[in-house]
Amino acid sequence: MDYILAAVVVLGAAALGAPVLQTAERRFRIGAYASMAALALAIVMVAANTVNGGISTVPYFGNLLVSDPLGDIFALVVLSVTLAVAVASFYSSPNGPNIPSYYSLLVFSALGMVLLSYSADLLMLFVAWELMSLPTYVLAGFDKKRVQSNEAAAKYAILGALSSAIILYAISLTYGVTGTTQISGVVARLALEPFNPLVSVAILLFVVGFGFKMSIVPFHMWVPDAYEGSPPAIATLFATATKKAGFVAAIRVVLVIATVYALAPNSVFTLANVLAVLAVITMTLGNVAALTQKSMTRLLAYSSIAQAGYILVGFSIFAYSQQTGAFAYNGLLGLTGSIFHVVNHAIMKGAAFLAAMVVLTQLKRGDLGAYNGLAKRMPITAFTLAVSFLALAGVPPLNGFWSKLLLFVSVINTPLAWVAVAAILNSAFSLGYYFWVIKRMYLDPGESTERVKEPLWSVVLFAVLVGLMIGIGLFPQQFISLASSAASSVIP
C-alpha cells in the first residue's frame, strides 16, 4: 500500500510540475519527458504493489482507499494506456507552448483513475471521478481551432457534468439512508435493510451515472462524436482508460451493494435483469450501428459500445448469483470474464485506435476508403489493425477469445442463457464489419501501392500490443487467475 501512495505522489508531482515548465522557452519537451517518466514509475510501483501487498483488503489512508487486486489490475491498465497515449501524442501532435499543460492534464486524469480504482469511500470515489473527468473535458477540446474538437468537448463536458450530478445525487441518497459514505459501511447497513425504494433509486442512478462513462446504450450518444472530434490520441484515452474507470466504479459500488441488496421485492425487476437488458441492447445497437459507419473512428466508437455490452454480461450474472444465492460459481466466472475482458479490451482497442491514428496522421484521411489496399502501403499498421480486429471479434487463439469464452460460458446454464444467445449472435454479426475492413486492407486495390512511412514509435508500440494480444491468447492462465482473485475480492 505504500507503493500506491508513492505512485500517487509521483503522479501528483509530475502533474503539478509539468505546467511550470511552460515558462521555459523551448524547453517544453521536458514536461512531456517528466510526465512519461512519472507514468512509467507509477506503473512499476503499482506492479510492485500487485506482487507484494496486493492481498490486503483492509482499507487504509483514512479508510478511503483499499489495496486489492481489483484496484491493481485497473490501475495498471489505465496507467499503461495513458503512457501509450502520452508516447503517441509526443510524436504525432504539433509541439507548441501548450504542450506541457497537455501532459499535465493527461497525468492528472491518470491520477484520478488510479485513485478511483482503489477507492473504498463514496466521497473519495466522487472526487477521484471528477479529477479523472475534468482534465478530459479540456483534452477533448485541445485542438482549439478545429470546430469538431470544440463540439466534442462541449458535448462531452455537458453530458459528463450531468453524469457527475447523477452520481452525486445517488451518493447523497445512499448517505441519507445509511448515514455513512464508507462503501463497506453502506453494505453492512443495507444488509439489515429489507427493501427501501430510495436505495433502489440510488442504485439505478449509479448505473446511469457510471453508464455514461461506460458508454452503455442509451447513455452512449456522446461517444461517437466525442471520439471523432477529439484529438485522435485522446480518443484512445477515452475508449481504453476513462471507460475502464467507469467499469471499476460500477464494480466497486453497484456490484458490491448488489451482494446484499435486491433492487425490488419481486423477481422480475432485479439488478441482474436490468444489467442483462442493458447488455443486450448495448451490444446489439453498437454492432448494428458500427456496420453502417463510413469513418474509422466512428466504427471503432460503436464497436467499443458493443464491447461494453459484453462486459456487462459478466456483471449481470454476478448480480444474479449474489441475489439468488444460486450459481455462485457462474457469478464469479462471469465477473472474472468481465475484468479479463476489460484488460483485453484496453489492449485490443488501444491497438486499433492507435493504428487508426497513425493512418489518420500519415494519410490525412479517416474514412474507410483510406484503408483500401493499406496492407501494401503500411504493412505493419495494417497487420496490427487486422490482429486487433480478429481479437475484438473473439477469434482464437487471440486474447479476446478467452475473455469472451469466460463471459459466454458463465451464463450458459443459468436463467440468463438468453443473454449468451444474444451475445454469441452479436459476436458472429460483428465479424461482418471487422472482416469487411480486413478485406479492404488486404484484398481491395488501394489508390496507390506506394509505401507510406510508418513512424518508429508506432512500430515499437504496435509490436508490444500485438505481442500482448498473441501472448495473452496463448498463455491466458496467469491473467485469468489474477482477474479471478480480483473478482473474489469484490464479495465482502
Binding site: 501528483g12 483514512g62 501548450n98 469511500d121 473519495m124 472526487v127 479540456v138 425504494p197 430510495l198 433509486v201
Partner: protein, 159 residues
C-alpha cells in the same frame, strides 16, 4: 424556495440575452442557498451565497460586460421528436422519484436535531477526510491548468 430555484434556472436557460441568463443563474443559486438554510446547514448556505452569488455570478456578469456581443448564440430549432421525447423522459423520472420518496416512509428516519457547526465540519475535513481535501486541491489545480490551456490566445505560428 424550490419554485424560485427552478423558475430562475429555467429563465436563465431560456433567456435570449446572456445578461438576463446570468441574473437568472444568480437567482437560482440564491434559491439553493435558501434551501440549505431551511435544511439547517447555515455553513453551506453562507458559502453558497459568498462563492456562487458573490464570486461566480458576478464574474460571469463582468465577463459578459467585457465581451459584449449581440446574438451570442444562434438559435437552433431542435428536431420535433426530441422535445416530446425529452418531456416524456423528464416526466417519467419525476414520477418514479416521487413514488420512491413517498414509498420510502421518510418519517421513520430520526432527524438529527443539532446542526453541524463550523468546528465539526473543520474537524472532519482535517482528520478523516483530509485526503479527500488534498485530492480536491488537485482537482482545482487540474481545472486551472485546463482553463489556462483553453483560454490562452495562441500567437500566430506557435499554436
Amino acid at each position: 424556495m424550490a419554485v424560485v430555484t427552478l423558475a430562475s434556472a429555467i429563465f436563465s436557460l431560456e433567456a435570449k440575452e446572456i445578461v438576463y441568463g446570468a441574473i437568472g443563474l444568480a437567482g437560482s443559486l440564491f434559491g439553493v442557498a435558501a434551501l440549505f438554510f431551511l435544511l439547517d446547514a447555515p455553513y453551506v448556505a453562507v458559502f453558497q451565497i459568498a462563492v456562487y452569488i458573490g464570486a461566480v455570478a458576478v464574474l460571469i456578469l463582468f465577463t459578459v460586460m467585457l465581451v459584449r456581443q449581440e446574438r451570442w448564440a444562434k438559435e437552433v430549432k431542435p428536431a420535433s421528436g426530441t422535445t416530446v421525447a425529452g418531456a416524456i423522459t423528464g416526466v417519467a423520472v419525476v414520477v418514479a422519484l416521487a413514488f420512491a420518496v413517498v414509498d420510502a416512509n421518510l418519517s421513520r428516519f430520526d432527524s438529527v436535531s443539532n446542526t453541524a457547526t463550523f468546528v465539526d465540519i473543520g474537524k472532519l475535513i482535517s482528520t478523516g477526510y483530509a485526503p479527500v481535501l488534498e485530492v480536491l486541491a488537485l482537482v482545482l489545480a487540474a481545472s486551472i491548468v485546463g482553463a489556462l490551456a483553453l483560454s490562452k490566445v495562441d500567437r500566430e505560428g506557435s499554436g
